[in-house]
Structure formats: structure tokens, C-alpha cells
Assembly symmetry: C2
Homo-oligomer: 481 residues x 2
């Protein structure tokens, strides 16, 4: 039995302004319209049933993740399991938690396929076959890594030195001589030339018990903390998923350490399977650029762009905004509704410094997008000015916002698509497409989509004070009251 374990964490700050804390890299849509998490889930489903898939992520991302999974395979009857962390730690605690869960639910011999949610794999059929090879080695008690044949002297990846073949019964598996941390340029060139060094992809395959034994031997404090976390965890079975909510108090005791450092670099049981399936960790905008085809000047764009005397420039357009470039060379222009990035492509790694600067300033654009996901749907701020703020609100079929009240703002609701059920003071009414209703300040109100299609509404707020904190929640379906 092979259990996919999806690790969905990491802010992806080098992909700002599309990747932000509230909507990080795994949820980012690629040029083909699919998110990395969506692709990872579909890849997991090639080797396992939905009830066998385990996702470790921050609890803030549960609703977003569940939506991506439903989008990937909407007809699933079985429900996936989520290990929800209260805050980010590193990969060792996450894998320890997952190994304990897998051993308990599927037996100590069950194998785990650890897949970070932010990798792109081109040949998914070949990937599935490579996983079978890894699983065969895992069955022999190995901790198996997936090594990628380097195509360039990359300084952004760790390397694995491949040694002798593990055995002759399983082809294409080698002992690992050692792990090498991200090298300097010159060293990277040597590793590339040597031929027996592979990129460390961060994907692994092993039996749950093999990992638990290795943790016990090399990082017992991680295993101990993970056991305590699971003893404390709140388990919740919903119609869409099984949730294992790790509590902050116990999780804080888990060491902030990577699985490479805690186990892989210390164990003698590590093997590597070379992966030729086409791998990209989408580490920066430079990597995103390479996903689309250039024109004859080397320029690429996702939308409405005029290039004048420009070369090797990538434009990531937002909505229907037009972008024009004049005399540019090797630039990245990443446009979003509320923030724009212009970066030299050869300095794409430094984009994370922008996020650092924004956080230092307490700037909202480090965390939130103009469109914000909520358990019930999304809202988008379309405009704000003196005495008004306008939102587009989309409510999922059957979903409902909290019963709430504002002290200062009046709200005008105009339904442009679907049907709304509205509590407004003592009244309960239906508002159909093209109709509107008015919620005066101090009225208790609730918006619900009673239909089978999405509800789209324009909300115009007016009044002296329009801050998001002017809200009193009386009742909420998502535990926010």
C-alpha cells in the first residue's frame, strides 16, 4: 500500500506578488490555468485512492485546499485526510506526524510517497513508473529519494552524490554517498561535470516504519514531539474531509528542522532513484517564465502586451490591464490588481526581499490579495473612495455568511447572478438576479446562497466609516462568531 503525503507549506515569497501569505505558491495558477496543488493532487490520485491521501498544511489553507481537490476530481466519494498545522514548522515534524498517522491507519509496512505541493512534473506517467521503482526499494527498507539529472549548474538546489547500484533485482536505484547543500557557482559546475550528482528534489518514498525507526535513531526529539501532538490533536470528520487539527501548545515543542538534516544526511539506508520525468520546482519568476513559449524576440506574455524594441522580457498580466514595454532586456513584469513587480530576470531570487520590506512596513500586500478567499466563497474589492467601498461577492451554492451587524456602514446589495436569501432585521427575503436590497447600519443581516449555482452580488458600502473591523458576528457556520 502506497500513501501519498502532500506537503503544502511555504510562502513562496520569491513569487510575490502572485504568491502571498493568504494565497501562497501551491494555489498559484500556472499559464495552463491549473494550480500546483491541483496538479499534485491529481498526481497523487494516479497512485492512490482519495481516502488514502494525506495532506499536511496550515489550518488557514484547509478551505482553499479542499476547493482545489474538489476542482481536480469533483466526483470523489471518499474523502482525503488533512493534518492541519497551527503555524509553519519544517519538514521533519510534518513527516513524523504523517508517518505516525499512516502507521496507525494503514499499518507499519504501508509506504509513504512524500510530495511537496509546489513542484511541477511534466511526464506524469513516467513519474508514476518511477514511483513504482522507488516503492520496490522502499519495500527493502530503504529511505528513497528522487534525484533529478542536472541540466545546468544550479545554485538554488541541493545535490545528491549517487554511489553503487543498490542491487540488481531493482534497476535504477543507487546508494547515496552523501548530500551536498546548495553549492556556489563554481562547485555547481564541477558537480554537473562529474555526472554522478543529482538534484535533491525533496520527494521521498519509504515505509512508515522505516521512517519511524530512523527518526527514533537520528532525531528522537522530533518523533517524541510528533507523538505528543497527535495525542493532543482534535479529530473532525466532515462530509468533505477528515481533519486532524494539531494544537499550538504541543506543536511549539517540535524542533524546526528539515527531514534532510534530521534523518537523510545521517542514515545509511538512503537510496536515490533518478527521475527523468521533467521536474521544476517553480522557485522564481524566472522558472515561471520558462513555462511559456517565447516569440521571435524572446518575449513572453500572458495577456494584452505591446513590446517595442524589447527582448527576453516576460509579462504576467493582470485581468484586462494593458502592458507596454520600450527598450527592455531580460526583465520580468508581474502585474496584479493591487501590486506590480518589475525585476531584472537575473535577480529574480531577490524578490523575497520585497516581501521582507513589506512585512517590515506592515503592508497588507505581503499577505492579502484584492480577492480574498473565505470558506463560503470569495470577495474582491473593486474600488474604494471617500464614503464608499465596493465589493464583488461570490457565494458558493448552499453556503452562507455569518449573521452579522455593522455600527457605521450601510450596505446596498445588488444580485447580478443567481439567487440570494437575505436576513435583513426581522425580515427574511429572496433577492433574485437584477434585484437589490438595502441593509441600514445596525440591522442584523445574513447572506445565503440557497441555490445550486454560484451567487454573484455587488455590495456598495456607504457611510462615514468603512473599516473591516466594524463587524459584530452573532452566528457563523465556520466557527468565526
Amino acid at each position: 500500500m502506497l500513501i501519498p503525503v502532500i506537503l503544502s507549506g511555504g510562502a513562496g515569497t520569491r513569487l510575490w506578488p502572485v504568491s502571498r501569505e493568504g494565497h501562497p505558491k501551491p494555489f498559484m495558477k500556472l499559464p495552463d490555468g491549473e494550480s500546483l496543488l491541483f496538479k499534485t493532487y491529481r498526481r497523487a490520485r494516479r497512485v492512490a485512492e482519495p481516502g488514502e491521501i494525506l495532506t499536511v498544511t496550515n489550518r488557514e489553507y484547509f478551505f482553499l485546499s479542499r476547493d482545489e481537490f474538489q476542482l481536480a476530481l469533483p466526483q470523489e466519494a471518499e474523502t482525503p485526510t488533512f493534518l492541519l498545522e497551527p503555524f509553519g514548522r519544517n519538514t521533519a515534524p510534518a513527516i513524523a506526524l504523517a508517518a505516525l498517522q499512516v502507521a496507525e491507519r494503514h499499518g507499519a509496512e504501508a509506504q509513504m510517497l512524500v510530495m511537496p505541493a509546489d513542484h511541477l512534473i511534466h511526464d506524469e506517467a513516467l513519474f508514476a513508473r518511477t514511483v513504482q521503482q522507488a516503492a520496490a526499494l522502499a519495500a527493502q527498507g530503504h529511505l528513497v529519494t528522487f534525484g533529478i539529472q542536472p541540466t545546468a549548474p544550479e545554485t538554488g538546489y541541493g545535490y545528491i552524490e549517487a554511489g553503487q547500484p543498490v542491487n540488481t533485482t531493482v534497476p535504477q536505484g543507487n546508494h547515496v554517498v552523501r548530500f551536498i547543500e546548495k553549492p556556489a557557482r563554481e562547485r555547481a559546475e564541477q558537480l554537473l561535470a562529474a555526472g554522478n550528482y543529482l538534484w535533491n528534489s525533496g520527494m521521498f518514498c519509504f515505509a512508515a516504519q522505516t521512517m519511524l525507526d530512523a527518526l527514533q535513531q537520528h532525531a528522537p526529539e522530533v518523533l517524541h514531539a510528533a507523538r505528543a501532538c497527535l495525542a493532543d490533536a482534535r479529530i473532525d470528520h466532515t462530509s468533505h474531509a477528515t481533519l486532524v487539527e494539531i494544537q499550538g501548545e504541543s506543536f511549539r515543542e517540535a524542533p524546526d528542522i528539515s527531514i534532510d538534516y534530521a534523518v537523510m544526511e545521517k542514515s545509511g539506508q538512503v537510496a536515490v532513484v533518478p527521475g527523468a520525468f521533467g521536474w521544476n520546482d517553480i522557485g522564481s519568476w524566472d522558472a515561471v517564465r520558462s513555462l511559456s513559449e517565447p516569440d521571435t524576440d524572446g518575449n513572453r506574455t500572458t495577456g494584452d502586451t505591446v513590446f517595442v524594441d524589447s527582448h527576453d522580457t516576460y509579462v504576467h498580466n493582470s485581468d484586462d490591464r494593458l502592458v507596454a514595454t520600450v527598450g527592455l532586456d531580460n526583465l520580468l513584469i508581474i502585474d496584479t490588481p493591487d501590486a506590480l513587480l518589475v525585476a531584472a530576470a537575473d535577480q529574480a531570487q531577490k524578490v523575497k526581499e520585497v516581501v521582507k520590506a513589506l512585512k517590515a512596513r506592515g503592508h497588507e500586500a505581503a499577505q492579502l490579495h484584492r480577492t480574498v478567499a473565505r470558506p463560503w466563497g470569495t470577495y474582491t474589492i473593486l474600488g474604494e473612495g471617500e464614503r464608499y467601498k465596493i465589493k464583488r461577492i461570490e457565494v458558493k451554492p448552499g453556503a452562507s455568511l455569518s449573521l452579522q451587524m455593522h455600527h457605521h456602514r450601510n450596505e446596498h446589495w445588488i444580485v447580478v447572478k443567481g439567487m440570494a436569501k437575505v436576513v435583513n432585521g426581522d425580515e427574511e427575503i429572496f433577492v433574485a438576479t437584477n434585484e437589490s436590497t438595502y441593509i441600514p447600519a445596525t440591522h442584523r443581516h445574513r447572506l445565503e446562497n440557497p441555490g445550486l449555482l454560484p451567487l454573484v452580488m455587488i455590495e456598495v458600502q456607504s457611510g462615514e466609516y468603512l473599516g473591516e473591523d466594524d463587524i459584530v458576528r452573532f452566528q457563523d457556520n465556520y466557527g468565526r462568531a
Copy 2:
């Protein structure tokens, strides 16, 4: 008597996307919040009364220009005169029309001060004193140009070779030896080194009769066409301005020629007054950049910007959008709500090629902004999507939109500031701040601001078809029914 003649034409395509056909360079706000036309009008008022100021512009820009003048000096009792052209010609026909008008209204000896509306002058008091010197030379029958002492080997300007002093009674006036067209770089360096060459600013001072005589001698066909245009013109006296509307049929006969080419380069009466008042023709974004103070890395910004490892980069922000730059050098980033320009500063002149490309595609962003000026105020498209479009509508005190009707769209109007008077079908109602009303498709309706303060309204359109062409106008105060 000195009559300022403001020439307000030219699309300013090198300043796209802020300058566009519907809102060109003279209306562009500088970092100090004032437009070039506003500044030009205020400069004109230093030397003349409002009733003596003549503005030559396209008739499309009348309402916008009038608003700028009222903004500059709201208390004016006298009204300025506008010569409204049906389409753009060159400076010779415009100056001929103005000279005929000035001679007729103020007498043949009246002097004209020709001022392009898109120049920036730093020391306005010194400019006024220089104008007095020019006027003294004009009184002696000279066609006086204003020459600017060059500070760099500019290839974007024409040059004037200054000869002997005109006479000793008027200081600082020289005969003009010749005009030199925009030179190549090497030639420009020679002219700068020689010391007796000045930039041709495009500003002039002369008696109306002197110009009429010179036109008769050197360009009689221009004068003839101008006379025919004025014979055909529709004269309109409104409470805000006197309008002389030139008709297309007669104006088409006017040769498309500059005053330099038609008269100045041919006449022996030309003198030059050196101007040390600080002059900038704001010809490109590079010139706009120079108007604000750089930080220690040479970067400049008008708004919310994070610079990382960037130098000599200019960011012109739009609204509240954040801009981040990484690893840039000498770039111009011009952000507007619907279009973004990123250009190498040393290629700022090529921005006009973007506009050329947009026009070839029939792209709206060559002509219109997200905010569109109308005689009654402005509207801004805040957002549009499937089945909805949202506008912010601002109506001037006392102004009124046309009585109109739509076949397909329903409109929800929410007043967020001020008071609206609304005709809706057979009803006439007042809608106060925070209130709303609903105009179903096929209802005749009209919006009016009966108050003394601006009216701000959010309009949410909903329906199957939301094109601007779904409008039937029954009655309009601005002749558009």
C-alpha cells in the same frame, strides 16, 4: 495691449499612458497636482485680463479646458475666448486665426503673446519681465521669439542663431541670423559650444498687424484660408466663454504648416529675446522624471514603492497600487488604472511607437482613460464582469445628464455623497446620500445634481448586454441628443 494666445493642441503621445487623445498632455497633472494648461492660464493672467485671453484648441477639449481655467481662477467675472478647431492642423493656421481675431477685437496694433499650453516655466515673475522686453521689441515691428540658453546638446529641439543686438534702447534683444532644425548629436554639441545658439521655445510675441503682414507676404494661402474660416465660423456667447467654432469644411483648406516654416524662417524682422526663466517642454517621461527629487540611489516615485537594488528609476504610481522594483537601472515605470508602461529611460522618445501600435490595433487605451470627462462631470469604470458593470459618476453642481433610456440594462444608483434629482419613468424624486434607486430597462431617466456640492454616485449596471451603445437620448443640455 498684450493678448495671450494659448495654443493647446498636440496629443503628447510620448507621455502615454497618462497623456491620451481624450485627455492629452496639457491636461496632465504634474507632481505638484497642477496641469500644464492650468499653469499656462495662470501665467497668461499675469499679463492680461481673462476677457483678453484667447485659447486655440480642438473643440473636443472645450469643456476640459474651461474646467481647468475655472480651477485656476474660480472668481473670474470676465470670460475667455476659445477658437475651437474641428481637427488638428499645425501652428500657422492657428496663429493666423488668432491674429485676425485679435486685430478685429483689439485693433491691429494689439500685441499677441503666443504660449503653447504644454510648457513648464519655473520663474514666472522673470518670465513676465522677459515678456515686457519682448513687447517693447514687438512694438518696433519685430516678430519676437523666446530663445532658451541651452544646458545640454539636445537633439529634440530646434535652435536659433542669435546675431547683433537689435538696438540699445531695449536691452537683451538680438536679430535672428537663422533657424536650425533639430540637429544630430554632433551638431548639437557644436551649437552648444559656440555659445550664440539658443533653443527655439515655440513662444512668440508680435503685433497682430505685423504677423498679418508677414503672412500676407510669406504665406498668403494660410491667411486666405484663415479669413474664410472666420467668415464661416459659428460664434457662441455662453456664460463661461465666448466660442468661435471653426467649421470643418473651411478649415480643411488651411495648409498643414508650422509658423516657423511659413513665416519665421523667411522673415527678416525676426528678433530673439533670451529667456533665463527656466523652461521645460515636458517632451517625454524622462523630462517628467526630472521634476521630482531623487533619493540617494537616484530613484524617484510619486507613491507607494519598494526599491530593491535599483538605481535612477522613476515610478509614476496610479491610485493606491503598490510598485516594487528589483535590480533595475534607469527605468521609467508609468502606472495607470488600465495601462502600464515600462521603458528604458534612454529610449523614452520611443513611447510614441506604443501609441502607434495601439492605434493600428484599434485599442481603446490609445484614446480613453478609465476615467472619462463629460460636460456634466466625469465617470470612472470601477469594474466589469459577466452581467455587471460598475461606474463611479460625479456630477458637477447644477449639471444634468441627458434624458435617456436603455433597452437591455437595469441600473442601480447609490448616492454616496451629495443629493441627486432623478427622473425615473413618470416619477421625479430626490435621492439623498446613502439612499438608492433602481432604473429598470426601458424606463426613461435623467440624473441631475440640483445642489451646490458635487454629487457622487455608484452605478451598478446589470443585465445581458451592457455596451455603451445601448442608449437612446431624448434631450441633452450639451447638444448630444
